[in-house]
Symmetry: C2
Subunit: 511 residues, 2 copies
């Protein structure tokens, strides 16, 4: 990795971008860290006030990180909430108050801010973006943390307002992780959640620096460049596949499989949920995907190989279908229809499924012994993750985005959270767009595993498919990304996470 002159379109006059060697070429990234905080005022030249609109998990984390990072610069961070918001008390408890002008009505905060970061729920964004756009001061920059609004505007024939910069900084993890790892970063420079950034409109030529400054101020260990379109696609597809929908399907299908084979409830739970959210996630986080297989004995590898090759095809078929429907607008249209329908009927929850009644007992057994990587669970999990990676590669996503959206966000943010609570709890407490997506596609994965993949796993492994896994370029990409990681274990301890995620506001998306 060497310092380089970035291309004009990605030019920063403030930060020294670097290139990262990735399979097939290099990608431009910014390595973050607290030593860059003194550059923030210059990068945010012209910004006197940053308005964070919304106090969901991302708003709650980003507003605090930004305020802490910008302390002493004269740049104010204020929080805007819709009238009557139930979040006002929590925002005040975290030091944003009407008295000092850092808490107010969302349109008022929008009107007085130079950078307006929109972190309200997708449905609220869909319903109210026109009012917010109308309230913007001339030349103010619009900030997003995912591409939903772009998808929605395309779907409805709308557009961003002319004359305003449009930038995105998208942390590859839940809001809770964005805050917690930032706090760790006070001791270990650069601990944090990686982010992507995108410059969608740049009327004054300063959009790139503003986006990079925002990301540095959030504490991102590294920030990679993408487009709002690419971010949108990988984000929405990823949460429907390996991040939420598929992992829910994997653990439900494995639990049933082990129960049918006679395992007691706790053992079945351990060989489905516990092994994935625990040792498998930790192994991938610390040593990459290949290490999961390499850590198994000969019998375990045989199981892994058969399950991997039986699961890859059915999983890939569904990931391709999700991608098609997201890219086409069909998926987002389904979300809009669901929101309309669910105005009348509440969404039922999935945490009542038999396996989740076992989680407390299974958690109580932790520490009695070291739970191993279960080879069957590892096979289906790694196959599905690889299927998603391959679909993203085929669709032309940058490698930084692929590994963050398919691997790092899963093993460093979501799975540790699921380990602390459980998978169904997490799905039930996500943003509605994510929750609807996981509910829509999880069952598709589950049926494919139960009806197609697991029966096929009785047959010998497909050696060619395994060879392509062993030689997969993702291993090089993960190793390159790992070099940028701080020397801190960002896995979350159980007690820590239990404490952290006790509120109903838990959720991995930006509102």
């Amino acid at each position: 990795m060497t310092t380089t002159s970035p291309s004009a379109s990605a030019a920063s006059t403030v930060f020294a971008l670097e290139t990262l060697d990735m399979p097939g070429g290099t990608e431009t990234v910014l390595r973050g860290g607290r030593h860059l905080f003194p550059l923030l005022p210059e990068a945010l030249a012209g910004v006197r006030r940053v308005g964070v609109v919304g106090w969901g998990p991302q708003g709650r984390a980003q507003a605090r990180n930004l305020r802490d990072s910008l302390r002493g610069t004269g740049i104010t961070v204020s929080v805007g909430l819709r009238p009557g918001s139930a979040s006002a008390a929590d925002a005040r408890a975290h030091g944003f108050t009407e008295a000092d002008g850092t808490l107010g009505d969302w349109l008022a905060v929008t009107a007085e801010s130079d950078l307006v970061i929109l972190l309200i729920a997708d449905a609220a964004l869909a319903a109210h973006h026109r009012e917010i756009f109308a309230a913007l001061k001339p030349g103010a920059t619009i900030g997003l943390s995912h591409g939903f609004l772009l998808g929605h505007l395309r779907q409805t024939g709308g557009d961003f307002p002319p004359g305003h910069g449009v930038i995105a900084v998208c942390p590859k993890g839940m809001g809770d992780s964005v805050r917690r790892l930032y706090e760790q970063g006070a001791e270990v420079n650069g601990a944090g959640i990686n982010s992507s950034y995108a410059v969608h409109a740049d009327p004054d030529g300063h959009a790139t620096d503003r986006a990079l400054a925002w990301s540095v101020a959030l504490g991102s260990p590294y920030t990679f460049r993408t487009t709002l379109e690419s971010e949108y696609l990988s984000d929405i597809v990823g949460e429907r596949a390996i991040l939420l929908g598929a992992v829910h399907a994997i653990v439900e299908s494995l639990y049933t499989r082990h129960r049918l084979a006679g395992a007691d409830e706790v053992t079945a739970y351990e060989r489905s949920c516990e092994t994935i959210t625990g040792p498998i996630a930790r192994t991938v986080s610390r040593a990459g995907l290949r290490a999961v297989r390499e850590g198994l004995d000969a019998d375990g590898r045989d199981v892994f190989d058969r399950v991997y090759t039986a699961s890859y095809g059915p999983a890939r078929e569904i990931v391709a279908e999700i991608y098609d429907e997201v890219a086409d607008g069909t998926e987002l249209r389904g979300v809009v229809l669901a929101e309309r329908r669910l105005g009348a009927r509440p969404m039922s929850e999935i945490g009542g499924s038999p396996m989740w009644s076992v989680s407390a007992r299974a958690h109580a057994c932790r520490g009695e012994r070291d739970l191993p990587v279960d080879p069957f669970a590892a096979g289906v999990f790694v196959a599905t993750m690889t299927a998603q990676i391959d679909e993203f590669v085929e669709r032309g996503h940058p490698w930084s985005e692929i590994v963050n959206e398919s691997v790092i966000e899963a093993v460093d943010s979501l799975l540790p959270y699921m380990h602390a609570r459980d998978v169904a709890y997490m799905v039930d407490n996500c943003s509605r767009t994510a929750r609807l997506g996981a509910r829509r596609w999880g069952p598709r994965f589950q049926a494919a595993y139960e009806q197609i993949a697991y029966p096929a796993a009785e047959h010998p492994a497909d050696r060619a498919l395994l060879a392509s896994f062993t030689a997969h370029p993702v291993h090089e990409a993960l190793a390159a990304a790992a070099k940028l990681r701080p020397s801190v274990d960002i896995s979350v301890g159980v007690a820590d996470a239990e404490d952290r995620v006790s509120g109903p506001s838990a959720g991995h998306r930006t509102a």
Copy 2:
């Protein structure tokens, strides 16, 4: 039921339409039968040749029924196939030959026919309807057996060609049943599959008579009026819900449930698949929906009540989602995307799931004892059927359509077929639109049953929901429809069906 003067828009100058008392009003129907065959030439005035394009299950059945019914009238029925069609040999074996001019290229047959009945696969219709429209002779009438093409034209901004009548006659059963019951009708007047009819364009004022004549000639015991739009919606929704997708989900989820509770494989199969395709379907067919519950003892009713009320809500939620997506065009867009994607990858089959390896052994046990109605299976099945009925009522479908598309097609056509083979086999051998839909939505129902409904069935039944089932207007509607049924048992015997459905052309849609 009394003979009536139909409204001008539904006027027939040839057939005596009747009104049927249905909940909340009356609906116009035509009672069929062989005694009406002498009226066919008058009703088809101006039609010298009927061209049936396609030789799938519906084409194979309809072409033969029409030829037999029109024998001696001077009206010729010919079959049009695309160049190189593998179906030509079977069409010849059934007496359609190039030599006598009743078998030919699809565009040539289109060009010489006065009524062109399009029974090719949905994908072929989407790809080739423009060529077919261009080949029509002036004033020729276009005939359809479901509304897919209307949906496709809307989706793509196209339209039917001006100056041509557009009519639909849609048998509420598989092509195989349409032929088999017609043959029975030679002995029992009026045995057959009910059909809906729709007049979508009527430039010469004879479209209604042509449609009714077509339906009478197919052997429909009764023919009810609908619109192409309403037909399309109920057809596509129904096959995704109770006709295919949901019934597959019900039997898979029940089988797993019984296996987990310790039942042996054959018992689990009997309490899931066999009880539904056998005694439950027969009870509904002969005595209606309420009779399923009334035939149970006190303990059985308690189980039925708990499962019914636990399943209704989750099932309704998914039926509503399907309806929204079909009505919006989203579902059809998904089918188009899938067809494009599957050009490169074949669709995997679902018949390899563990439960289907049991079907031969379970079938071999038939006759050893009378399999009872299983109350748990009956609860989830009847709840899902009622949820579909209620969704159709809320969306304003006519009762004739509702009971045929939700109940009669299921218990008189599809379930008997599934009883003869098995459910997964049927799904794997359906039309691609149906198969894609069942694969898309079946897993959604299955997850809802396993994760939401069955756990909730441990709790006491919701008496209010049960009371609304007991007093449901569908019972009156089914009784009214039953009065029109011929006195023939249209359930299919196993040996009969085994013989009948052995070919790979089996499938319930029109191509």
